[in-house]
Amino acid sequence: MNLIFLFLFILSVVSGETSLEEDVGSSRYVIEGRVFPLSDYQSTNGNWQSVTRIHVNGGEFIGFVKSDGSFAVHNLPSGSYVVEVLHPEYTFEPVRVEINSKGKFRARKVNHIQISQVVQVPYPLKIKALGKTRYFQVREQWRITDFLFNPMIMMMVCPLLLIMVLPKLMNDPETKKDFEQIQKMTKFEMPEMSDVVTNFFSSNGNQAGIKDSNGKDKETSKKGQKPRKRAPVKE
């Protein structure tokens, strides 16, 4: 722990020195490098160089990219700089370039958290696009599978299939018989259902209708009860 502190202290002293020299040093240096965009982009947009900018220390010094992708940022006193490549469509990784008072260059990855960690990168800089910047969320698209696997749709479609399609598929006479029985049962159930619906809708219709339906109701209920009683006997 102490070691780290010591190191940090040394680092701070060193950086202090460099910053002092920033004011004193009169010689100016040039940061040079080259930008490599993704190959697909290079071919589709021939004019990528003019929209690419090089910012050193957040725009304190500015560089522009030539048509071959190379760039040079002039007039820099010795010090520590963060070089960023800015492009509206592509993301590039920033690089920290340190120029000491003797004019020696050292480039390394920017690591804001562990400043003591040095991962050197070659100088003159070679900056490659990390990838296309994704500014937008992808909207969920309407797909037929999503629609079909919707629980409501499943609830509707599955019974329908069972009732309508299955009997036609089955040719085996025994199962057919069984099925007919089941159908009979459902047949007797069905009027009840429809009556309920008609009841519901005709209730706000005329009185006669209600009476009629009431009458039917009784009949159907009787009919409905009979087969039920019969069924267990048969079994």
Partner: protein, 889 residues
């Protein structure tokens, strides 16, 4: 275990983040946002076939389309406060020289794409104002040494080492030389005017010397000072201006020939169709067409033709920047005193396009709600004639029928008049004041200019760190129909420095009083909360002599009861003294400003000041802790945040942050950061403060968040009083690494403050990032952090998601400010980012929870419902038939 915990943390973080990031969908591009791009006030111009190449005072190089004025490409060079463009030369490629004092950058650009071709550096020894020109493919740098000589350095592009151009210097004796502003280039010659003498030198010749001619041989009257103006012509010519009359002079065989005719100072030369013509602008007597373009022959000065220009009202006086002849027609590029750019096509004198370049530098912004539509307003008139019951009844019925009609068939009224309030307050008017002294009203829906108003001879105030700003105050909003909205602009007179007050209706731009010149310098102004009888909020203006003035003037009677509760403060950036004032001793006849406190921050320098937005609402009074007790927020509306930087022998610079109560002057909190430097950006809202600074020790930008709490007991739940201090607030703080360079910071603002807050950070890269406040909120110690507590585990480095960039790939040049205003929808706030570009968008930090999503399928819902209804009726019929059949069985 540790591994597992980190995975858990990441997972928790991700689940929260999914809810936090509110990104755009690609199909939403341009739906509610717009961007306008500008180049700034044009300094140099060059016509090139179908395009115009401009170099501006904003240090921008751009090409404009000749036919519509659109920007074809634009390169933003260094910051104009340091660097200035000195030369623009177009010859197959574009060459620019830009720089500061003794360091210049020479760049050549591809004319079609704007790609850099080459870049060189010129380092000079002298740091005096100097001039550049280009002759025979070589750059000439002319440095005047006052009273002694002129240094001419020739740089050729072949001779350079590591990008630094090497020059050959020669010295030309010029003992009369005082200032380079007395000199102009005339072709290959350089002409200077001294006292009663004219000096010129041929720059093309080696070892040439200044040739001196006495002035009185060509100009009889020595009444005024003679100013030289550049005049581009194939024979070396220039204009000599005295008493506002210009004479054209040419250098012919080491002699000066003066043309016998008079010209205007803005004359330009156009060669075309074998003719050599002079174009100039003159004032016209015709009230309809104020400007007349006059064309003269170069040799004789005879009038070729003149045409009256249908000059738009509201623009300042124009000058000709450049001209070109294109066969039968010729184009004139005009620049006005309010930085507008106009292209006039002759001979019909039609204005092809105009660009309001004043908008490239905005110094004040205010959002205004629009008035209600005429129809809605007519309902208010129902009780105008109260006696007539039938009239009232018919009035109500007719308006309601109209409303119903509008509901069904769409609002025709709204489409016609345009500027009408909408349901959610999303349609607003943005009034901006520009540095050039022109007011604009921008429509938030389209970005078009609703009206503009030019105020001559005004300039912005100089704030902290040289930031220029004017002040806009909303005295009355549009909700008091039929009274119009009322707004006040405060600025400075360019000549006297006294205050300028301009009252206007922000919706129409109408001002009944015009510009009012105040007899004092303004030091502070504040808007009070009480209305007078006309629903105007009184504006108090404090002069530099500590005299107080109220606008409207009779407002004193309204505020007389509140004198004891009105306090003012001033911050002097030069003396670093903060001063508080009270109005306690005022009477109805005389307002007395008494100093109640002052804080001397010397030798520190005040670098930033943060006040809370006046219209901010704090919805929740406290934070619920993990034990389900409430920790009350310290919401002091009078709290100021002050950042100072002081030099320190040990730690270079020390940044100090103070939270000061503006009423009592009590320093509520103070903290400091060693080895920190600016720029410091403060965002002050609710009970928290966020500030950014550059940490010199670790060479990174850091962001610190402070949060103030009263504790478990709330001192006063109804109204806050600065005088009732029982105990100082508890401070929570935490700092973060910001992996970018911020230019400006702001916070979102919503109507009721229920919605989460987002921090908006304008980056040097030209993007505006939104950071949820939840990510920055200081974490409580000993408190579990997780989604249950709506807490995100601490991360030292703030993640930068490209999805959180609100202006997506629309990079903004040189951002100077972010303005935020609430919409009537609680979820939404309006954002205007200005700088070299203007970008408007709406953000919804908690997503638009109060409106249906825009992709909500109304058609499908209607379709399904109607299908269901039809189906029920059909089944009813079928069922009835079946029942009938069953009955017959």
């Amino acid at each position: 275990m540790a591994n597992f915990r980190s995975i858990y943390k990441i997972q928790v973080f991700l689940t929260i983040l999914i809810h936090l990031t509110v990104a755009l969908y690609e199909d939403q591009v341009g739906k509610f946002d717009w961007k306008r791009s500008f180049v700034g006030k044009v300094k140099f111009v060059s016509f090139e076939a179908k395009r115009i190449i401009v170099a501006t005072e904003e240090n921008v190089l751009a090409t404009l389309n000749l036919n519509n004025g659109d920007i074809q490409w634009r390169q933003i060079l260094e910051d104009p406060s340091n660097y200035q463009l000195e030369l623009l030369h177009v010859n197959k490629d574009i060459l620019t020289v830009s720089g500061v004092r003794n360091n210049w950058l020479v760049r050549t650009w591809n004319i079609n794409t704007g790609t850099l071709l080459a870049e060189w550096v010129i380092n000079a020894e002298r740091t005096v104002p100097s001039a550049f020109t280009i002759i025979n493919g070589k750059i000439l740098h002319l440095v005047p040494i006052t009273g002694s000589h002129l240094e001419i350095t020739t740089y050729s592009f072949i001779d350079h080492e590591n990008g630094v151009l090497k020059g050959v210097t020669r010295i030309v004796s010029a003992p009369w030389l005082t200032n380079i502003s007395n000199c102009v280039f005339a072709g290959l010659h350089y002409v200077c005017v001294g006292s009663n003498q004219l000096h010129f030198i041929n720059l093309d010749q080696e070892n040439s010397k200044f040739i001196t001619k006495p002035l009185d041989t060509f100009i009889e009257s020595e009444a005024g000072k003679i100013i030289l103006i550049e005049y581009k012509h194939k024979t070396p010519s220039f204009l000599m201006l005295s008493n506002n009359i210009a004479k054209l002079a040419s250098i012919v065989d080491e002699n000066i020939v003066i043309k016998p005719f008079d010209l205007m100072p803005n004359a330009v030369n156009v060669v075309g169709n074998g003719k050599d013509l002079i174009y100039q602008l003159e004032a016209n007597d015709n009230k309809e067409k104020l400007i007349r373009i006059k064309v003269k022959d170069f040799q004789t000065g005879a009038d070729e033709f003149s045409v009256d220009l249908d000059y738009p009202l509201g623009l300042g006086a124009p000058i000709i920047l450049g001209a070109q002849n294109r066969g039968s027609s010729s184009d004139l590029l005009l620049s006005t005193t309010d930085n507008a750019l106009l292209l006039v096509r002759l001979p019909e004198a039609k204005i092809l396009w105009s660009r309001e370049e004043a908008l490239s530098n905005i110094v004040a912004t205010e959002f205004f709600e629009l008035p209600i539509s005429e129809l809605d307003a007519s309902i208010e008139h129902e009780f105008d004639n109260e006696n007539d019951i039938f009239g009232m009844f018919s009035h109500r019925i007719s308006t309601q029928i109209n409303q119903f009609y509008n509901l069904v068939f769409g609002n025709k009224l709204l489409q016609n008049s345009g500027l009408v309030r909408d349901e959610f307050g999303l349609h607003k008017i943005i009034v901006v004041a520009t540095r050039a002294g022109k007011l604009f009203a921008l429509d938030t829906l389209s970005g078009s200019i609703a009206w503009s108003y030019r105020l001559p001879n005004i300039q912005p105030f100089l704030g902290l760190n040289g930031q220029e700003q004017m002040l806009l105050y909303v005295q009355r909003t549009a909700q008091f129909a039929p009274l119009p909205a009322h707004c006040i602009l405060l600025a400075q007179d360019t000549i006297t420095g006294n205050g300028i007050l301009f009252e206007f209706d922000p919706i129409t731009g109408y001002s009944d009083k015009g510009i009012q010149k105040l007899p004092y310098r303004i030091s502070q102004a504040t808007l009070l909360l009480q209305h007078d009888k006309n629903f105007l909020k009184p504006l108090l203006v404090l002069s530099q002599d500590n005299e107080l003035y109220a606008y409207p003037r009779d407002a004193v009677s309204v505020i007389k009861d509140h004198f004891s509760t009105i306090f003012l403060y001033t911050a002097n950036s030069e003396t670093a003294i903060l001063t508080g004032f009270t109005l306690k001793y005022s009477t109805e006849n005389q307002m007395v400003v008494k100093k109640s406190w002052d804080i001397d921050l010397k030798p520190s320098k005040i670098v930033a000041l943060g006040v809370k937005p006046q219209n901010e609402q704090v919805h929740s009074q406290g934070k619920v802790l993990y034990d389900r007790s409430v920790y009350y927020k310290y919401v002091n509306p009078n709290l100021l945040a002050v950042a100072t930087i002081s030099p320190d022998p040990m730690h270079h610079n020390v940044l100090s942050i103070y939270l000061i109560d503006g009423v009592t002057g009590l320093v509520v909190y103070g903290t400091s950061h060693k080895r920190a430097k600016g720029p410091v950006h403060l965002v002050h809202s609710e009970n928290w403060l966020v500030y950014s600074y550059f940490n010199e020790r670790f060479r990174r930008t850091e962001l610190a968040a402070l949060e103030l709490y009263e504790g478990h007991l709330q001192s006063n739940s109804t109204a806050f009083s600065s005088f009732a201090v029982s105990q100082l607030p508890h401070i929570q703080s935490q700092s973060y690494i910001l992996p970018l360079v911020p230019l400006k910071m702001a916070v979102t603002l919503t109507e009721r403050g229920i919605t989460n807050k987002f921090l908006l950070v304008a980056m040097s890269s030209g993007a505006v990032l939104e950071i949820p406040w939840l990510l920055l909120q200081p974490r409580f110690e000993n408190m579990p952090c997780g989604p249950e507590e709506s807490c995100i585990p601490y991360m030292p480095e703030i993640p930068m998601h490209p999805e959180a960039i609100i202006n997506y790939n629309q990079t903004l040049g040189r951002i100077r400010g972010i303005e935020v205003a609430p919409a009537r929808l609680e979820s939404t706030s309006h954002i205007l980012v200005h700088g070299l570009d203007i970008f408007y968008t709406r953000v919804a930090p908690s997503k638009t929870f109060d409106v249906l999503k825009e992709d909500f399928d109304h058609k499908l819902i209607v379709l399904v419902l109607s299908a269901l209804i039809i189906a029920t009726f059909v089944t009813k019929k079928l069922a009835a038939r079946k029942a009938l059949k069953q009955a017959w069985k």
